[in-house]
Amino acid sequence: MIKFSQRQLRIPKLLRPVYLVTAGQSKFGRAMPDKRTEELCVDALTMAARLIDKTPAELKSYIHSCYYGHFADHFGDQLLGESVIHDRLGLDPLGNIGVKTGGATGGSTLWETVKAVASGYSDCALAMGWERMDEVPTDEGNHLISCAADKDWETPLGHIYTGYYAVMAQKYWQVFGKEEESFRRTLAEISVKHHGYARFNPYAHSPKKITVDDVLASPVVAYPLRALDCCLMSVGAACAIICDEDTAFELTKNTKNKPLRIFVAAGSHTLRPACRRDMDIPLLPNETADQYADLSERFPGVDRYPGFTGFLAARMAAYYGYGMAGVTDPMEDFDVLELHDAFTISDVQTYEDIGLRPYGYGRDYVESGDCYHTNPHTGKPGKLPSNLSGGLIGCMHAVGATGIMQTLEVASHIWNRWAELHEDEALWKAFGRQKPDDWTDLQVKGAKRGMAISHAGVGSHVTTTILMDPDHLLS
């Protein structure tokens, strides 16, 4: 039984308002033999400077401390890779530190950066994340990723991380999904949606125009998950500039970027799913205890929480984050989301963990059309569009950069700059990519608030990054 003290449930506070000022990213792809990682990081920082009409040197002159997200340094045989990047970015002798929390590394890097500014340590700080997993053969890559599991109790079992996650997918599939063909098709719809949105994103690694049947015909990885249900393994970098209020408004004066209030919270749960202990469901502001009283009757097999069907870390990150930002109902309070769709089924699990739908009913967020830019059932704007970047399935999963890329994506909607950042023919050409004839502007009109979820593996770490137009705060 896990039990929390009231001190542990205290809602975190930032000591002063913190703002996202600008952000940038590189091109994302499966392999980039033509570029060193530092070149990708320079691309990202240069873009961040350009968005606020500054030269890289001008922007750098504001940066006071640096936070680097890079998860898998064992892939590159280079410890302290952060120091290499820091030097190449010309940011010595500023203080810098590396952050690594698996798939949540990008979000965790923002978490640390925001705290540095909130505390007053820095008025302007850099969050930069990157990853490259293209420099080992795939089977060795699978082994290296499996080293993020418990090395004595899990890694020797196949040296394949997908297997450690897939047991959770199987439980959800059978208990909440009831092994229904209709649910299997809903999962496939998520892949179609994310690969489809990636078609309009020049930075995206895997744009595809596919159908539900294409997903269902793709090779089985671990039943019911198929190849097109799974996220990408990408190379790339992303960065964000985080500031206090005075610096934020100074840096953005007479630019298109409005400083956005940023709140980041984090949760965790055991690295080893085997060690999950039973507990009561922690409730979000839009839930009541009685709504789960008969959960096991509605879904036979639900005998534990979080068991293997939920992510406690995501639930706690939402609990802390919503409390900090004053969110009482995520479906009403947010306009756009970027979720960590490592697998189609974990995307559905997350809808429940963060309160978009109650436990057991995550699929409805897709089936209702709420998750789309344009609801396919009504032709009207989706109620709360998610993963318009293409997400991890269509855009990228360059682990240390992912949570930062998601944050840039959300910000681009609130800045009302989505079209500008995605439609430029020259950018498509520079990346060697063909802009589709049916390119569509996915700007969420009037977006004022959004959230990005960054998630590690079987749910060991999760962060919520909440962005708000400062004139549309909730509390």
Partner: protein, 197 residues
């Protein structure tokens, strides 16, 4: 002929003998799309890590003897005293007291049930298990946690009753020395080296 590295502990320190790494030359990586232009080099690494099981050593040694150890918090001052753990936890996660090592072999033989499973067609480098790997997560009566392992016979289903088998011949002293088969399986059908203990 090089001798594979081995390690013993003598006078409280690791004593290494044999070879733990092999130096292999780098090779160039060239770009065939651009007339063989140099892109980079390979960095071969062949080395052996050394690792202690510490307080869990008794568990891994027990598998080769057909014993499945878990642990229990017996601290009377702990709010959750009496909680039992498989996988083995050296310390209680609540009070951080040292747990008592308990032989759970009988409990596992009589109460093990598949909580969830996955059949995995792929593996990573260094895998030694036969594919497809049938991952199973097993719950036990009176135990607070759920063990990850693999099924050696039959097809897994949720709720399936299983019993442990142990690599008692030439154990590897890793978690792969423990596997599971459906209740009622015949000893003659077990994989080479495995017994019911």
């Amino acid at each position: 002929m090089s001798k594979q590295g081995t390690v013993r502990v003598v006078n409280g320190r690791y004593k290494f003998s044999g070879e733990f790494h092999h130096a292999t030359p780098n090779t160039p990586i060239t770009n065939d799309d651009e007339g063989g232009k140099l892109v980079g080099v390979t960095n071969p690494r062949d080395m052996t890590y050394v690792h202690t099981y510490g307080g869990e050593a008794v568990f891994f040694e027990g598998l080769g003897k057909g014993i499945l150890y878990g642990t229990r918090c017996d601290n009377p001052k702990c709010e959750f005293t009496g909680t039992q753990y498989i996988p083995f936890r050296i310390h209680c996660p609540d009070c951080l007291g040292r747990n008592t090592v308990v032989d759970f072999t009988k409990t596992c033989r009589t109460t093990a049930t598949v909580h969830t499973f996955m059949v995995c067609e792929r593996s990573g480098a260094f895998n030694v298990l036969d594919k497809p790997i049938k991952f199973i997560n097993i719950e036990f009566e009176g135990v607070g946690t759920i063990l990850m392992s693999y099924l050696s016979l039959g097809e897994p289903t949720i709720g399936m009753k299983v019993v442990p088998i142990f690599r008692t011949t030439d154990p590897t002293f890793t978690i792969t020395d423990l596997s599971w088969v459906p209740e009622g399986a015949d000893e003659g059908d077990l994989p080479d080296g495995f017994t019911f203990g």
